[in-house]
């Protein structure tokens, strides 16, 4: 057989077989969008069951934190000991997957008697689909700090209980700062730049920025805007069209971020979180601009230096800042309205709400919790505990509901850090925002 015998005859247009072959190949693309059909409707939130009923069987806890698995297993063993015959099983999806598929998986109650939600978009989605029950009247609500569980509310109804208290602010290696001659965490923009200059002069990278890991890289946006934004709802108002990415306050943020980027490690735009964590834990970099949720990883890597939170303070020297820092409360616990074991679900959340058990969870995961009267044993949690009562702003980054708009605004930071002017980056971001409005 010659090579030409494998081929169609020349000089003819596409035949029926060609067209069918092309359609066959193309159908795979179409199949992606056709993998489901309109689902069943949602209703209003039903009331969550009160704990104390007849608890038995298996309780399924659906969440995204695989790093908490061991701690939760220990707590589950204690829970089983308290409620004879009850077993708690965990179903864990990676966070990206959880965000995209949790509602679909949990809505029929096959998994997730108790399940969790991210603050913002996902909680809204659960609410719209009627997945979470109404926890406004559950007795263990009293165990939580009232000012921290607001993100678990939807249209005035307490649909879930944010369990983790996170501070989305840069971590500062205090030992390196002191070696560089700085003894106080900076309280204004000039002091911040002074710290960075001194750190650079001492031979370390001042800030290790994970420019190629959006989830971590853009945490810095929170403290960057907290004292530059015209009000606490600045990103929600960009999304509603009331504010624009070309407004002076955002251009100020971009200008200051461009200045900060001069203190990042080389080739920062390609760095992932693993690389910058290594720089930070090896004390080659002094600031990790992500958040308190990474302290556990820093300690696991063997770092023993003293730590504090160091938000980007953009206020002028002598000017009183509106906010001292940023917090977020997330990992919102809720009872599935279709739970196969609603009594068990209520009992598990009540169990986690106990200050002793919440402390065990906090110490085991190096995360603060929103439960009242918790006494931590972990030294980092103890050291950062004062932040729980300081004047902090609920992380504005999560005000964005449309992820394309969030991405457009956040990416303007990358643009200025890699050489675009703040004005041009702001215009490009606003153009993308307007496409979505």
């Amino acid at each position: 057989m010659t090579p030409a015998q494998h081929l169609p005859s020349p000089g003819r247009g596409p035949g029926r077989r060609s067209v069918l072959t092309a359609l066959g190949a193309a159908g795979t693309g179409a199949a992606l969008a056709a993998c489901g059909g309109p689902g069943s409707g949602s209703g209003g939130a039903t009331a969550a069951p009160d704990p104390g009923g007849d608890v038995s069987g298996t309780v399924n806890f659906y969440h995204w934190r695989s790093e908490d698995k061991a701690v939760l297993e220990e707590l589950a063993a204690e829970f089983s000991a308290q409620h004879d015959g009850v077993t708690l099983e965990q179903t864990i999806d990676p966070s990206e997957q959880y965000q995209s598929t949790a509602a679909q998986k949990a809505r029929d109650g096959e998994i997730g008697d108790v399940l969790t939600a991210f603050r913002g978009t996902q909680l809204d989605q659960f609410a719209d689909l009627g997945i979470f029950t109404d926890m406004s009247d559950v007795p263990y609500l009293e165990d939580y700090q009232g000012d921290l569980i607001g993100p678990g509310q939807y249209e005035g109804t307490q649909l879930g209980l944010p369990y983790q208290l996170v501070f989305n602010m840069p971590l500062l290696n205090i030992d390196l700062a002191e070696k560089a001659g700085v003894s106080e965490v900076p309280g204004d923009w000039d002091a911040y730049l002074d710290l960075l200059d001194k750190l650079a002069g001492s031979g370390v990278t001042p800030i290790a920025w994970p420019g190629n890991d959006p989830a971590s890289a853009f945490q810095i946006i929170n403290s960057l805007v907290m004292n530059n934004g015209p009000d606490a709802e600045m990103f929600a108002k960009i999304e509603s069209g009331q504010y624009r990415a070309t407004d002076d306050w955002w251009i100020t943020c971009l200008t200051q971020f461009q200045e900060l980027s001069g203190y990042f490690q080389d080739n920062f735009s390609g760095s992932g979180i693993d690389g910058v964590l290594s720089l930070f834990t090896q004390e080659k970099a002094a600031i990790l601009p992500t958040g308190s949720y990474q302290i556990g990883q820093v300690r696991s890597a063997g770092a023993e230096f003293a730590l504090d939170l160091s938000p980007v303070m953009t206020n002028a020297a002598g000017e009183e800042p509106t906010y001292e820092g940023i917090f977020n409360s997330t990992f919102i616990l809720g009872v599935n309205s279709q739970a196969k074991n609603p009594e068990g679900a209520a009992a598990w959340i009540e169990f986690l709400s106990d200050p002793v058990h919440a402390a065990a969870y906090g110490d085991g995961t190096t995360q603060h919790v929103t439960v009242k009267d918790v006494e931590y044993e972990n030294p980092d949690l103890q050291a950062l505990a004062p932040w729980q009562t300081r004047n902090t702003l609920l992380a504005p980054r999560f005000q964005f509901i449309d992820l394309d708009i969030r991405s457009a605004v956040e990416n303007s930071l990358v643009a200025v850090a890699t050489g675009t002017s703040p004005e041009q980056a702001a215009e490009e971001a606003q153009a993308l925002v307007e496409e979505k409005l």
Partner: protein
């Protein structure tokens, strides 16, 4: 019946969803006519960028992988111990999962601790160090190199099978006529290996459009959509933004693009075949 059920019906259903504003989860949706298409074509610059990236990625991968796999096949055609060992070495990446490949290469490309920048430093080319996957102009091409590395060994095997079909007598006759190595390759090997080239180009085109998992695991489409391809954008629209109707419209346009490329390829092959017969 199977074809109707598994190919035509999903295609029709995708079009059906594409004229709605369905979010992918709730029962409520409205018919919006061709609004999703109008937005995509006239008012979505990220979509336009994803189309451009997809085509650029495909072009680089098809050209690069075809040349590299043919070169490897020619170099390793003879069955010596060394060439057999090298064939196995080049084929090895094929057995890895694309997520593992993405993981490995994200370490290679890490600008601080990665192999690529360290090698450049070691050979005295420290000034050439790059952010690699953070470079908004070049990141898509660096990922194309990974895709080429990933599948070149597999395509090499196709070419070796094609090369083994060429009678040795033809090369002997060409040698008697005084043909050098390059002339033998240009006038004998290259034309006679054309059936294998057809397979390699078609397969590579399909693979490049299916690079979704490699890109999601390496960059997630970033930075700033620099590595966004149609498949990753459709995933984001459908499963992160919960705009299933919009994602379906993107899928339908994706389908049209693939169909057009497939038909163009077949047309090009037809023309090439006609030329070789004259």
């Amino acid at each position: 019946m199977v074809y109707v059920w598994f190919v035509l019906w999903p295609t029709v259903q995708a079009f059906q969803f594409s004229i709605t504003d369905w979010d992918g989860l709730s029962a409520d949706f409205s018919w919006v006519g061709l609004e999703n298409y109008r937005t995509l074509i006239t008012g979505d610059s990220v979509f336009a960028r994803a189309v451009g990236n997809s085509l650029a990625f495909m072009l680089v991968v098809v050209i690069g992988q075809t040349i590299l796999s043919l070169a490897l096949a020619v170099a390793l055609l003879r069955s010596t111990r060394i060439s057999i060992a090298l064939r196995a070495l080049f084929f090895f990446p094929t057995v890895l999962s694309s997520v593992a490949v993405a993981f490995i290469w994200s370490f290679v490309y890490d600008p601080t601790f990665g192999l690529a920048n360290r090698l450049l430093l070691a050979v005295g080319l420290g000034s050439w160090q790059q952010p690699w996957l953070g470079d908004q102009q070049m990141a898509i091409y660096y990922l194309a190199l990974v895709q080429i590395w990933f599948h070149a060994g597999q395509m090499m095997v196709v070419y070796i099978a094609g090369l083994q079909q060429i009678p040795q007598e033809l090369y002997d006759a060409a040698a008697l006529d005084g043909a050098g190595r390059w002339q033998k390759f240009r006038h004998l090997t290259f034309p006679l290996v054309q059936p294998a080239t057809v397979i390699v180009v078609a397969y590579t085109t399909i693979q490049s459009f299916k690079a979704f998992d490699l890109i999601i695991a390496s960059t997630g489409g970033g930075p700033n959509h620099a590595t966004e391809i149609l498949a990753t954008l459709i995933y984001d629209s459908a499963f992160r933004n919960f705009e299933m109707g919009y994602a379906a419209a993107q899928s339908v346009i994706f389908m049209v693009i693939i169909a057009a490329i497939t038909l163009l390829q077949r047309r090009a092959v037809s023309l090439a075949s006609g030329g070789s017969n004259r």
